[in-house]
Symmetry: C2
Subunit: 243 residues, 2 copies
């Protein structure tokens, strides 16, 4: 009987995976994924068969992986970050719906909220929300509503997909919504190329974030009303008494 | 010059850590942590010096770790899950505030939202919120406000610390707030002992969750209005066209 793993790689190379994820990839016959992510790990799994395709071909990719599992193979579908956070775990379960006999095991990885927060300091120590600004799969009105609710709740907020060529003003629009509910002085951080060559970060404020240019390889974190900058790092205190 | 790592262990034993976290622990002189977590990893790092103490002694623990770093040692403060999500990264930065010369490197781990979601299927594929129901460090009114805002925004919600001896009715109170904004039929899941012996999960609905007994070793995930149950797993679709 075939089996499907859906494996989160974490932010970058093999050293950012868990041992459990590494072992899952070592145990399988076929590794399937978006070709950019396949290339990140190919060197370490040379003995495997690979199935890769391009961006936006997620459904096809899952169908190809399912076909291999139905032939009796163990297949690992890879996702960058965590397979369960804007990753391939959901669509894999949907595509395999009519095949309950195929076991699906999701192996988590470090999502960009967590790897990005670690670079910035400790901005997501308390309650926070993850919101993707991509409206390819979610209507923009729903994204606006969530930005409004999250900032009304004084949540720290991590923005995924904060920009792209077609959506160059989405971060500005998002900031304008958050600024209705939160002071512009709240610390914010931009992390670029997390866990990869060229990783860097920038601290700013919610008001200034509005006019920043960010690219699609960036993750943005906005603090809450408690968030401070300590020694150049962004830290959200959790209420411990220090004295 | 001393250095401080704050390292997330992930949900359980050494195989759930990243290689980067493992290497950080191998590179240090001293490992500091809550004694339960120290015991989880002690066997694999026998050659290290350990500094451990009890629950609620987080500030003292950070001060002890800082003292060692000030002596020139490399110290790793460990957290279960992710050090940056309800973990030790924030308080460590706060305690070391007057010592900017001590480098603090946060090494992320798999937080319970991600490891719990993987057990349940793929409930957190789209925008979601993490909310802790512990009012030890956050006023209960703020927690209520966040539950209200998160459910108004149709976020998937992951609840940390859903219960304890003193807070046996907090999950019920939380469900009552969410039920004002969301239908009771929304799928919900409870995961116990994630990544450890005795791991199990239960699927339910928001309405039924209200009357469940959960313990402090549980993580609770509530879906959004799109969440489905597919082959016994909880899945939040992300809007891909399947046909």
């Amino acid at each position: 009987m075939g089996k499907l793993f859906v494996v989160g790689l974490g932010p970058g190379g093999v050293e950012q995976m868990t041992k459990r994820a590494y072992d899952a990839l070592k145990s399988c016959d076929v590794i399937a994924g978006y070709n950019v992510y396949v290339n990140l790990i190919k060197e370490d799994f040379k003995e495997k068969e690979f199935l890769s395709n391009g961006m936006r071909k997620e459904v096809d990719r899952c169908k190809l992986a399912l076909d291999e599992a139905l032939k009796g193979k163990t297949v690992a579908m890879i996702s960058s970050g965590d397979a369960g956070v804007y990753g391939m775990a959901g669509i894999m379960c949907q595509v395999a719906k009519d095949h309950p006999e195929i076991e699906i095991e999701v192996v988590p990885g470090i999502t960009a909220a967590c790897s990005g927060a670690a670079v910035l300091g400790a901005p997501l120590i308390s309650d926070f929300c993850l919101i993707s600004l991509s409206d390819l799969l979610t209507p923009w009105e729903k994204i606006e509503k969530r930005l409004d609710c999250a900032s009304k709740g004084d949540f720290c907020i991590c923005l995924y997909n904060p920009s792209s060529h077609k959506r160059h003003d989405y971060l500005q629009k998002a900031c304008d919504i958050m600024l209705k509910n939160q002071p512009g002085t709240i610390p914010a951080g931009i992390v670029r190329n997390i866990g990869r060559d060229g990783q860097d970060f920038e601290l700013t404020t919610l008001a200034e974030l509005r006019d920043k240019q960010v690219d699609m390889f960036s993750t943005v974190i906005i603090g809450n009303t408690q968030t401070e900058v300590i020694n150049g790092r962004m830290v959200t205190p959790r209420g411990y008494k220090l004295a």
